[in-house]
Symmetry: C2
Subunit: 193 residues, 2 copies
DNA sequence: CAATTTGTTCAATAATAAATGAACTTTTTG
DNA sequence: CAAAAAGTTCATTTATTATTGAACAAATTG
């Protein structure tokens, strides 16, 4: 009875199907739903793959959907394209683009004769993995370097048994931090920079 | 306007205070609340630290609370100890222990003359980081090695422009996988095994 | 410069995940 | 072996997080 402790194995549920059209201003062609079903099997698979991946990293599903769709699209996509294929709302799509832009995972491209923003996926792992490490991990480790130093000092005075134990634990935490800090350059190396 | 894209910076809110005693069978001593406030500042800091850390990894907060408390406790703690200090329910505490046991982050110790289970924190990063990589990351990468191989084959037939593009993207994904697989042994190395 | 198109923001709602606590099983004790 | 203690499970409740869509702002067009 091994309980998995990360949502890696979470199954991707199909979108809770809304009556199309009626609510949002979508033209319904016959009885055909123009939501997720209009995707090719490969598109679907990519979308599901990236949904899992980003959920593992704590992002909303929609962010994975959008990235997956762009990743497997040869031509750049605009907001309407994405909304239609993924059956997402305008607001959600806009926010998804924003997050992806901020983490450097997508890029706006100019399309002559169309004033809408068009997006393509950035495909260099280095680009956003590196950004993630630099912006999220490194500052956190730096903060704890300072903080643990302070705690360690505060402990040094007390000389009873518990103070000794506490000092030991804080050192341990500090050694974790060091190990992680040693790993990061290796990751950068493998990512090739 | 840099929107952070992982809950690293999420602030730890104080527990929504319940009227103590009245509901759960807790003896209220005077007006004193025996919840989170009974912790020392250091205990509190450790708990907060681990709450952040485990939330980053997608675990529930309570798991971080329990681990943090055990990490900074010299003597082993039983379920009641943890429930009292963290103001958690029996069920939640039990499930937290279970998850932590499953990932090898805590260990039961025998305390003579007490038939309750007592827990201590495992403090070797290698132990559970290694387990995490082995149980969560590696199988996922292995699965994708197979899956991408299949997709790549299926693509090779089609010879139009799009098939070429798709093949390229699947190769790219495969190269991501390879890069990650190259990183893992390095991590193991740094963790010392 | 009014009308239209494009994109963003945010309050409200829906979906999801975590915590509670009562009911239960198992183990121990007298 | 009945009663008590310890621990687990799981249906329900509560809290959290994501998504929607209406209102808005900005840019473009005729």
């Amino acid at each position: 009875m091994v309980t998995s402790h990360l949502n890696l194995s979470s199954d991707i549920k199909p979108k809770t199907e809304k009556q199309p059209g009626s609510k949002r201003g979508i033209k319904v062609r016959g009885t055909q739903n123009d939501g997720v079903l209009a995707m090719t099997p490969l598109e679907l698979e990519m979308v599901e793959f990236f949904v899992r991946a980003v959920q593992m990293l704590g992002f909303p599903k929609s962010v994975g959907e959008i990235y997956g769709l762009l990743f497997i699209s040869e031509r750049s996509l605009n907001m309407d394209d994405v909304m239609q294929k993924l059956n997402l709302s305008k607001g959600g799509t806009s926010q998804g683009f924003k997050q992806l832009r901020n983490m450097g995972a997508i890029r706006v491209v100019y399309v002559p004769g169309d004033r809408r923003d068009h997006y393509v996926a950035e495909t260099e792992l280095r680009q956003f993995a590196g950004g993630f490490i630099r912006e999220q991990i490194q500052p956190q480790l730096a903060f704890w370097e300072t903080r643990l130093g302070m705690l360690e000092n505060a402990m040094k005075n007390g000389s009873d048994g518990n103070a000794h134990f506490l000092h030991e634990r804080i050192s341990k935490l500090n050694s974790w931090r060091q190990q992680m800090q040693r790993i990061l350059p290796l990751i950068n190396m493998v990512l090739g920079k």
